[in-house]
Symmetry: C2
Subunit: 222 residues, 2 copies
């Protein structure tokens, strides 16, 4: 039924581990014992260890000298650094995406903007409950926004940072952003991008990230 099931033990463990890390199921700072993980995922030491090595290079896992691995610790400082890096990196990625974007890009952007605008942020109107469809559409929006940047390297770097930021969102488990109209922010960013006003679009995107960061920082610290 699915596309990938027998793609090799290592791949599977790697995907699973990354997912558990990103969703906060493996808490930041948690000691990652090879045996335990192996038992959990039904794999031996080699694949687990290999997956951990990759994830360490990606920054989701930390190697501690000769005493194993741990889930990358989360802190307000690390988070601030992450947001700063993201703002600066996406400044150039978005600018170049806008510069190089063709008609097909514009159309992709229009589509994801439309989709995002139609999906409710929360499943129920009264109490906030994460809507997975919105999450997907939101990720797609940001991905498409940057997708016309000619440098795949830079796009991948931005993607890595986005994942790390998502992890913080999962950890902090922020429900809502009072006093913000997130939909309007997305709207404005898309507008500026389509109008090819790179400087405006970048400023709006950075403001968007920094606003989100403000709430997350509060949730993390408190």
């Amino acid at each position: 039924m699915q596309e990938n099931d027998d793609a090799g033990m290592t791949q599977r463990v790697h995907r699973q581990l990354r997912s558990d890390l990103l969703l906060g199921r493996l808490a930041p700072g948690l000691k990652l014992k090879v045996q335990t993980l192996g038992a959990t995922y039904g794999a031996g030491a080699s694949p687990v260890r290999e997956a951990l090595s990759s994830l360490a290079a990606e920054g989701l896992v930390q190697r501690i000298d000769g005493r194993g691995f741990r889930a990358a610790p989360a802190s307000v400082e690390d988070f601030d650094e992450l947001v700063r890096a993201r703002c600066w990196l996406e400044e150039v990625v978005l600018r170049e995406s806008i510069t190089a974007g063709d008609v097909a890009w514009e159309e992709r952007l229009v589509v994801v903007r439309w989709r995002l605008s139609r999906i409710p942020r929360s499943v129920s109107a009264e109490r906030f409950t994460h809507n997975p469809d919105w999450e997907v559409a939101h990720a797609a929006f940001h991905q498409v926004l940057l997708s016309a940047c000619p440098s795949a390297t830079l796009r991948e770097m931005a993607e890595t940072l986005r994942e790390r930021a998502e992890r913080y969102r999962a950890i902090a488990n922020v429900a809502a952003y009072p006093g913000r109209d997130v939909a309007a922010e997305h709207e404005a960013i898309a507008e500026a991008a389509l109008a090819r006003e790179a400087a405006t679009a970048v400023a709006l995107l950075q403001a968007h990230y920094r606003a989100t960061a403000g709430f997350l920082r509060h949730a993390l610290a408190g």
Copy 2:
């Protein structure tokens, strides 16, 4: 005598492998067989495999589905992409380094500029022979230039790209850059940086990279 000898098999293999990759001792595209490498470095399959996994995440090695690893292929296209990414990334890293650089940074920069200016590029005056001291001083110059950027994440990303570029330099084995005064280019970049003229410094740095790239591209293709 040295600082690190018994730092664990994996670390050692990792360092060794990376070095062999960067110096071109392991040719681009070469099949990397776990057994062979293990024999070469005196290690078993696990450490080698683990090291290869990390290096794959760093982009120096490629995983081929379920059929092992190979040294990352080198091509003119990949090189062009690398240079482009580097120019764009370092645009912001250098700018922020200049913005945030304090007196200590200025002084570090003055020192490495001075050192670089005093060391001959080639060991002998007649026939060009790489001078390892110059290589070191050159790397230090570029590293210090960016060192005041407050984002460690971005600095590390720039460092990764620098390594990949160095690999191409080793592969292409370019002897000299006729018609260029590389020393003067470094001088001008440092001058602009010390004068806090970020835009000028960035433009000069990018021109510096693009000029080098031109020669390398020629050497690669020819």
